[in-house]
Amino acid sequence: MDVVVCIKRVPDTADVVEIDASGNDIETDGLAFKINDWDEYALEAAVQLTEKQGGSIIAITVGPKEWDDVLRRALAIGADRAIRIDQDMVTADCYAVAKVLEALIRNLSYDLVLFGAQSEDFGSAQLGVMVAELLGIPHASLVVSLQVDQTTARIKRELEAGTLEAYAVELPALLTIQTGINQPRYISMAGIKRAMSKELQVISLSDLDLTQETLSPTVMLEKLELPPKDKKAELISGSPEESAEQLARILQNSGIF
């Protein structure tokens, strides 16, 4: 079972998010960065599959040199090799990134391509599905359960209100992985150090026969804004009995119960 996992590096915004002077990015000065939460679940799913069934894992990302750190983590968790396409595309539209990834993945040998269901920063949840369409392979999004045999992936995907949808998807296929499908293991610092000896290949757009022009965006990010602060907080005072009564009335009046 050969698996390709696409991962992204995102800011760990903790409790600080500020918009920078350009107005279309956040202030990244002083921020720590991490592997996208959903991608950790995708990596764990890949490792669990290959631990059980054998095969290899290739981790891929598109980003500048600093993004090597998330690939090192992928190598530490169990990827056999990693490829970074050396291009800063953080604010590029998904379609442009999808074309870059497709150009690389189509030349790799794989049974499954895994993405995180969405990214923590832009959260569009489009990239995986676009790549599947460009590759011309079946796909399923928001996968919360996964069993794979030689020819088929049996998956469950999440719908609203806890409803699940079950599919058999013919391989090769692309799946976008939802959180909760597994419990991603801890990646020890010793493991990250050991993974420094694994192969991390860096390629450029020209290696993929792509030029900047072919990546011209179809969607442009114009401006970021923090949500407006609303003054709707209401403080309830009085004894616990009085407060409970007031709260019950508010909930009743707002139609919650």
């Binding site: 409790d15 720590a32 010793a190």
Partner: protein, 393 residues
Amino acid sequence: MTLTSYKYADTIHRCFRCGYCKFPTNWADVNNCPAYARFRMETYSCGGRLWLIRAWLSNEIEWTDHLAKIMYTCTACKNCEEKCPLRFNVDIMNMITAVKGEMVERGLIPSQVKDFLENIQRQGNPYGKARAKRGEWTEGIEIPKYKGQDFLYYVGCVGSYDTRAQETARTLGKVLTKAGVSFGVLGGEENCDGNEVNALGEETLFEMMAEENVTQFKELGVQKIVTLSPHSYNTFKNDYPLHDGNFEVFHYTQALRDLIQGERLDVSRGLNTRVAYHDPCFLGRWNGEYDAPRMILNAIPGIELVELEKNRAGALCCGGGGGNFYTDFLGGSESSPARIRAREAYDTGANILAVACPNCMTMLEDAVKAEGLEDKIDVKDISEIVVEATGIA
């Protein structure tokens, strides 16, 4: 790792589960292992853990999340080492830390521990709060940055980020200033000391942190360190020398004792109250310092110092050690060690439960509230008691 490659394979089987590890020094009950007190099952006691370690490493039992949690409920309080009558007792903590290390290595740790360690990796504190905010505890008070003064005042993660412990950190800053101590803080440039990272079994991460801190301290010309937390004190004193970090380290209670005895801090204003003192494990059992905090309290006119039933080497841990102040595996019950301790303190008739550790502060203050005792007994740090006795505003 298998049992044969386990460093303590030759000794771990010698535990025959006599159960002494659960007793306090006065043999009053069997509840002095905090995890055993909370769960009342042999598996959570030190002896139970050692038998489980042996079974896991011999492939007699499989790893489960439950097994990992049992290991991580250990608060590293060292009561077991204190009470175990066998000669291998000096290695008990190491036996447990080594198996936590194996779980870290295999990635098989409870999610709360994973969060703790990943937050440290990313933001340098267990809470996952922004690294950039580490120095915010100094806002509103005059506190000098460290620039080669006599002492580096090292605050640690809890004092830097926890709202209540921040008050303590500021108060100690005021006391040191009042006494004319030449000191400075690192503020936003301070990094986690790593004591808990080590106790959680992430040895490589700890080594990196220790080396980074030693490099920073040396570059700044630090020679003497005074710490707010006994956890920082412990690792600076006992672990950092192994990483070429040889500093003169003081817990702040030792510094305040010296300042009072040297008449640089005048506590003659006094405080008329009854105080029970809770020994922090990393000051007491880990480093044998039981007297400095008591000498401070005894030096303050009007204070009647009373002892908790379990004290000094027999003190019950607050349940916050070994990362448990964050992972909270022992919380949520009347049998949570902090709540037992809060009741014990109330039973002494004390008005104040004095602590000398920011972890104990957060654990015991929450416990006093959970017990509904907040109108009856205050949890105060010794620095806060000293401030009142000196009349510093």
